[in-house]
Symmetry: C2
Amino acid sequence: MSEPLIVLCEPQMGENIGAVARAMLNCALTRLCLVNPRDGWPNEKAVAMAAGADVVLENAVVCANLEEALAGQHFVLATTARPRDMVKPILTPEKAIAVIEPRIHAGQQCAIVFGGERSGLSNDHLSLVDAIISIPINPQFSSLNLAQAALIMGYEWYRQSLSAKENGYIIPIDIHQPAPKEAMHHLFLHLEKALDAAGFFTTPQMRPNMVRNLRNLLQRSAATGQEIRSFHGIITALSKMGVAHNPQETDS
Amino acid sequence: MSEPLIVLCEPQMGENIGAVARAMLNCALTRLCLVNPRDGWPNEKAVAMAAGADVVLENAVVCANLEEALAGQHFVLATTARPRDMVKPILTPEKAIAVIEPRIHAGQQCAIVFGGERSGLSNDHLSLVDAIISIPINPQFSSLNLAQAALIMGYEWYRQSLSAKENGYIIPIDIHQPAPKEAMHHLFLHLEKALDAAGFFTTPQMRPNMVRNLRNLLQRSAATGQEIRSFHGIITALSKMGVAHNPQETDS
């Protein structure tokens, strides 16, 4: 059966990776991806804490960065405790699984991203995801560890996929297939390069924030492969115009 | 706000008690009861693992046995992984909270019991509870630890109590107030003593199992205080008859 990919982005302690693997397998989740784990991989402490969930650790994929981890994914969610200054849907765990379950059943690749223990996910990381999951928790004591957060998402997955199996799958007809994430990442780079060449970023200081805002905006479009190809065409066409003109003029 | 009492029945490692306290406070649960903790109480390892949830540990109540822990409770659920040969409702975590949430809002005391790490809950323990909670979990890897089980129940509690707050409480009108558990326990003892005197148990070997079956049956009645007083009256009346007659004859 198909299932979401669990991505740990820059995890630190092997013990926590092992505890996540255990919680995953408890909920019949087996696909784990580690982005740049601090203490290297494989990790003996992870094996000790996995308490028998070795199959999850053995099949774990290690990636250098989040873009690489998300290549091939169609829809990506990230858990984060802190609300960010960002226009992105915020879902409860229940709603998040209700959104990905029918997508997965329709053959799409979906991922759930968890940040590292200390610093969580940066705004750059979040600009690569479609929606944010906020786990409802006591605001006076909200320090959930990595394995607890993974268990809650896994529990919702297992609960809802059992119930879908029992009640029959309902696939909403309005789910279109977004392009895999690497196509979106290429589009980001193409656009940003074109904007650099066009002198769009008037100061280097403003660039990172503007790039994030643009990425979030494009991300929200959930564009199909065809739409992304059209976007590339537009950027190329505009860039060629820009070469012949003064960029200051074409920008206005 | 009122909340369920969390009862750990014969827990072993202090670390696990601490991890439960942390998971509880994450979900705004603060009332913990420990039945006969193996390593005594207070316990330094529990404090270390609680990661700041000290208030839960400091207010924890220690009891000698499960009957004592459940005195004053009106409705009691127990989590157990193993299906038992016992006529008792089995609920999912979602349904379990849906059952106790309106009871608590109506002023009833409700408890959730978790067994110890190694042996879980015995059939004698289970004969004291109203219903069983079975957490849906991968049957190929179903070793949930104590804190994970507590987190899932806490998460369901927090999620549903938030939602009840937002949507308005709905109290089903058919919730009657069962007698507190100590009244039920007294009834058990009265009946069993009367049955002993009447020679009801023909061999000592059969007694424990028959006692459990009777307790489960009475438990299912969820009797009110008035109904329990009537039961006592019936037992007393029948016992008096038995004194005058041959017990063998009155029993047939």
